[in-house]
């Protein structure tokens, strides 16, 4: 009983001796000096113009702050790596048996507590915000943000089918988002079809375009596939810009009919939603309805994906990602498997697109540029390629993060009133990506979740357990 604890303390000592405070200070100081060197040409002087005169203002205070930040971060990094080395040196008792004796994995633990938590927050979000902000109008910003995040969660889950499950790198996913949005916009403005009819139509049309993209790229993989899909995304956007007769070109399509509550419009009038349900009219009713609409659509995407993963087609997608030749020799039609992946992924993109159109009431090609594709792909990759919950977390971080930045107004008291944290969004985005590459190169939740989790070993009847030994 005593022996192990003695060895651990011994290890602790050696490791903590490894964390040399003086060396860490020295290193941090070096980093700060380098920062100082870099700051002198970049940060220390600023040109100001007043009238025709141009003069320099010095910003040594800012330089000092930046150097201090670098110094501090460097120290923290040292402490962090040291504590990590310590954790490594003291192995947990489970480690040795983990692989064979499949206890609950990190994923299973995360899903056991994480999923109900996230779902609960998502379902009650408007209520929570209402209570926190103390009023419908006050909560507008947050509900709007919730809608935005959920849209990206849904897009991420849709693309996850193509990239995460089937392993087909698609850089033009936004094309299907655009097809969905324009489908609703055109069908509703020209034929007066309602949202609930257009939604499935938009999905079908997007799926159809998914197949059209799928056919020529069937034999491509990896980089080549990425380039062709990228081009596809751009082609769709350029067609939307240039086919002015149909799409009204770069000006876009406006006054798209708003969503109705299953036929009841959200208007102040007699037959409006508020009047029908005896409520006081408020524009937020529509927002909250949209929130639950996109939540339902996102959950549908997730539900379908989870179901499909357990069905032969979903398992074939994953097998395709792992080894195409083995797939074929197991009797899987890889052509059909790829096409269904493209089509189903595109279909959810189409649903999300028509939601986008009904929320904005306006669509233009500008909303569907490559950056959108890149963000959606980044969500999937950061989430861990195939992990549903990972994708959701990544969407929250990548879409919600910039909004948090916008609210960091207290930083203005540090960096001066002209400081707009939002301008540093892409810088932080890049830094975050680099950090991910270093610490979690395979995504937030990199472990692939088995589609079948055997409880104990119940799939095997008891009589078998006694027989034979390897």
């Amino acid at each position: 009983m005593n022996a192990p604890s003695i060895t651990t303390t011994a290890q602790t000592n050696t490791v903590s001796r490894n964390f040399d405070l003086a060396a860490a200070f020295k290193d941090a100081l070096k980093a700060a000096l380098i920062t100082l060197g870099l700051s002198i040409p970049i940060l220390s002087y600023k040109t100001n113009q007043s009238g025709a005169d141009l003069f320099l203002t010095s910003r040594w205070g800012l330089v000092a702050i930046v150097c201090a930040i670098v110094f501090g971060l460097r120290l923290v990094l040292h402490a962090f790596t040291a504590s990590k080395a310590y954790a490594k040196a003291t192995p947990s008792p489970r480690q040795a048996t983990e692989l064979v004796d499949a206890g609950p994995s990190a994923f299973q633990k995360a899903s056991r507590f994480g999923v109900p938590f996230f779902l609960g927050v998502a379902l009650t979000f408007p209520v929570l915000i209402y209570l926190i902000q103390g009023g419908l109008n006050e909560s507008r910003y947050w509900v709007d943000l919730g809608i935005l995040i959920l849209t990206y969660v849904m897009l991420g889950w849709g693309l996850n089918i193509v990239v995460g499950l089937a392993g087909l790198l698609d850089l033009g996913y936004v094309a299907f988002y655009a097809v969905g949005a324009y489908s609703y916009a055109l069908l509703s403005t020209t034929f007066g079809l309602s949202f609930w009819i257009c939604l499935p139509l938009a999905g079908i049309l997007a799926a159809f375009w998914g197949m059209i993209l799928g056919f020529p790229v069937l034999r491509l993989r990896g980089d080549y596939l990425a380039i062709v899909t990228l081009a596809f995304g751009e082609i769709i956007r350029l067609v939307l810009i240039n086919w002015v007769d149909l799409t009204n070109g770069g000006a876009g399509i406006s006054s798209i009919p708003r969503a109705t509550f299953f036929g009841i419009p959200f208007t102040a009038g007699e037959d409006g939603f508020a009047a029908t349900f005896g409520l006081e009219f408020n524009g937020m009713h529509r927002m909250i309805f949209l929130y639950y609409l996109i939540l339902a659509l996102a959950l549908l995407t997730n539900f379908v994906t989870m179901r499909l993963r357990k069905l032969p087609v979903g398992r074939a997608w994953e097998a395709l990602r792992e080894d195409e030749i083995a797939c074929r020799s197991l009797g899987i039609n890889t052509t059909n498997t790829k096409l269904t992946a493209f089509a189903i992924g595109a279909m959810f993109g189409g649903f999300a697109g028509s939601f986008f159109a009904v929320r904005q009431g306006f669509v233009s090609p500008e909303s569907f540029n490559f950056l959108e594709s890149a963000i959606i792909l980044a969500i999937v990759v950061m989430g861990g390629m195939g992990s549903q919950i990972g994708v959701a977390i990544a969407a929250i971080v990548l879409v919600g993060g910039p909004e948090v930045l916008r609210n960091l107004t207290f930083l203005q008291s540090v960096f001066g009133t002209g400081f707009d944290p939002n301008e540093y969004r892409l810088l932080l985005f890049g830094a975050g990506m680099v950090a991910m590459m270093v610490w979690r190169p395979r995504g937030l939740i990199s472990e692939r979740e088995p589609s079948v989790i055997l409880k104990e070993r119940k799939a095997i009847s008891g009589s078998l357990v006694k027989e034979g030994h390897g």
Binding site: S329, L330, G331, V452, L454, R457, A459, I460, E467
Partner: protein, 258 residues
């Protein structure tokens, strides 16, 4: 060169309806680009037989096995299985005609669990017999039974080999193609694998086409064997005949019995 007594079934065309080979390869030529890998191969596998193909590295054994599966495709010649010409058939359709293979290099799905790998093997017949077959392969390979939840890629080499064979068995094939099932396995396990092949053949009547480097074991086990040298079949005969052949002895059984 060719040994007497070879192709007994073929020399007896009168009995062809009863003894038509399950798989027959006629004049098959396969190319990789412009390089010819099979230079006109003739081979038969009769129902209920274990047939082995031996040969040096690079002789074209794996190529023949993959050509039967249509990947790469034969440029000339015909491959007939159960009376149907499968030469031009897509790989996945060939696989659905109850031919299964455990290819060279195993090609299991590394990120999927053992259980899911086995499901993939069963998926083509709609998982109808999955539970039954799972029990069966678990009896054959108790090692896998302990590791159903482990990821394929984390299995040891020998365990991966077992998984590849087990996965091939999950589709209840009539014809099983095995490419070097003994590769990388400890001698004891090799014996077990060969024992399993024998059992599958005797008890279940499974026809087995076995590509092997382990010529001694393979020829002892097989009913008939073929020897391949640089894309040509140079010898054929019963397992015993080939074992006793001085040329085979010199080329493939050097160093006595392994």
């Amino acid at each position: 060169m060719s040994t007497a007594g070879a192709n007994i079934a073929m020399q007896n065309p009168q009995a062809s309806t009863a003894r038509q080979p399950l798989l027959s390869v006629r004049g098959v030529k396969t190319y990789y680009g412009n390089i010819i890998a099979l230079k006109g191969v003739d081979m038969d596998v009769n129902e209920g037989e274990i047939v082995t193909l031996i040969g040096a590295n690079g002789a074209g054994k794996s190529t023949l096995m993959m050509t039967i599966f249509g990947n790469p495709r034969a440029r000339e010649g015909t491959i007939t299985y159960a009376g149907r010409d499968i030469t031009k058939m897509p790989t996945h359709e060939i696989a659905r005609m109850s031919i299964a293979q455990s290819p060279e290099g195993r090609r299991i799905f590394p990120r999927m669990t053992v259980y899911e790998n086995l499901q993939m093997g069963a998926s083509m017949n709609g998982m109808a017999y999955f539970d039954q077959d799972l029990e069966r392969v678990c009896t054959l390979f108790p090692r896998l039974k302990e590791r159903l939840q482990q990821r394929g890629g984390t299995l040891s080499g020998g365990e991966q080999q077992m998984l590849a064979i087990a996965r091939a068995l999950m589709s209840r094939p009539k014809l099983l193609l095995l490419d070097e099932p003994s590769l990388g396995l400890a001698p004891l396990i090799v014996k077990q694998i060969f024992q399993i092949i024998k059992e599958l053949n005797e008890k279940d009547g499974m026809t087995v086409f076995l590509v092997e480097q382990n010529a001694y074991h393979a020829l002892k086990l097989a009913h008939r064997g073929y020897v391949m040298v640089t894309g040509n079949i140079t010898m054929s005969g019963t397992g015993k005949e080939l074992l006793d052949d001085p040329q085979v002895k010199a080329a493939y059984l050097e160093g006595g019995h392994h």
